[in-house]
Symmetry: C2
Subunit: 206 residues, 2 copies
């Protein structure tokens, strides 16, 4: 049987459901339904049911979803049951902030390397990490088998670094540099772009 | 005539179209079509046509979209033709990074204030800004009429600060703290959450 291709727009909503479900769980809640989840995340109940039905039957008509079960299923679908090692490139303010970020815990990620090409930054200690020389990035990432990187270098350097990450075997890049990047087919790229988050809200402002 | 309510999921895609169109424009391109735009942003051409048709007729069958015109229309729809003043609360690594971020230029935002409650940080200079005392935040933001804030304080402090921002008249909060916040109706809240961006990619990784 051919594997069903799920549209990326559906995939993109699953982490948002997962975060909301975890929040409910932290509040001590055990069950929910598509109506309540929809109100939390601003997506219609029908859309949520349709999205989840792509992956199986996770709830029952009338009784809704068991939160722990649905969390576990979403973690399985999103491949975050285990922890991925992540490299940061760029030990500026943003790189420091990400290296110390508390929001990766229990969500599938662990920053294990930080690189920079500035001699003043190489050797700096950030928490339990030491900033490594970007000149050794390709072999270091390749040897460690790291597939995920966060890019926090200046815009002008970003494409060059992205090319090296691809060379090193990285398959997923989260880009903080305010510039569009080109990566080959088979490499995923996401932008973490505050302007996008802000513009999504200004629509509603006068 | 009652104003048509556009689903937030559609609104959320417009900034992504806008960024891609700007990128095309920077490359010297003058026209595009829903097919090409769709490939750039990973959304189907049919969805893009459907999304844009909510707001009017922006392209022509066969000839596609004039990029400059569509950019202007999207900026109008998203209310980013003018520049919004933005306050940052939390002058840690992330606050510094955002205060210096180059990706707000020409996208409708200008950081005009940074607050912190740490006496060691108050008075610090970040570019052209001086870190202000968070104890004076409510009146300072209210007097300036600032409606947008970015929240970069530790998780434990985030809800308290969010409450104060609402009190100060802020209508849109971009939250970087790794915690879910509650805000009253009429206040928009977005999360800039790297784990969400990463989980969206791990789906595709083995």
């Amino acid at each position: 049987m051919a594997m069903k291709v799920i549209p990326d727009i559906i995939v993109s909503r699953l982490p948002i459901y997962l975060r909301a479900l975890r929040h409910m769980q932290e509040q001590g809640q055990q069950t929910t339904n598509s109506q309540e989840l929809g109100e939390q995340v601003g997506i219609s109940a029908a859309q949520i049911r349709k999205d989840l039905s792509q992956f199986g039957e996770f709830g029952k008509q009338g009784t809704g979803y068991r939160i722990a079960f649905l969390i576990d299923k979403l973690r399985e679908i999103l491949h975050v049951r285990n922890v991925w090692d992540v490299a940061i490139v760029g030990a500026g303010d943003m790189g420091h902030a990400l290296a110390r970020y508390q929001g990766f815990i229990n969500r599938g990620f662990h920053v294990t390397m930080v690189f920079d090409n500035d001699p003043a930054k190489i050797g700096q200690v950030i928490g339990s990490l030491t900033v490594l020389d970007a000149n050794k990035m390709v072999e270091t990432i390749r040897e460690a088998g790291i597939q995920i990187a966060m890019l926090t270098v200046p815009a002008a350097a970003a494409q060059g670094v992205a090319d090296k990450l691809v060379e090193a075997g990285v398959k997923a890049i989260l880009n903080y540099a305010p510039i569009s990047l080109n990566v080959p087919e088979g490499v995923r790229l996401q932008y973490l772009d505050p302007s996008i988050g802000l513009q999504r809200m200004t629509y509603y402002l006068e």
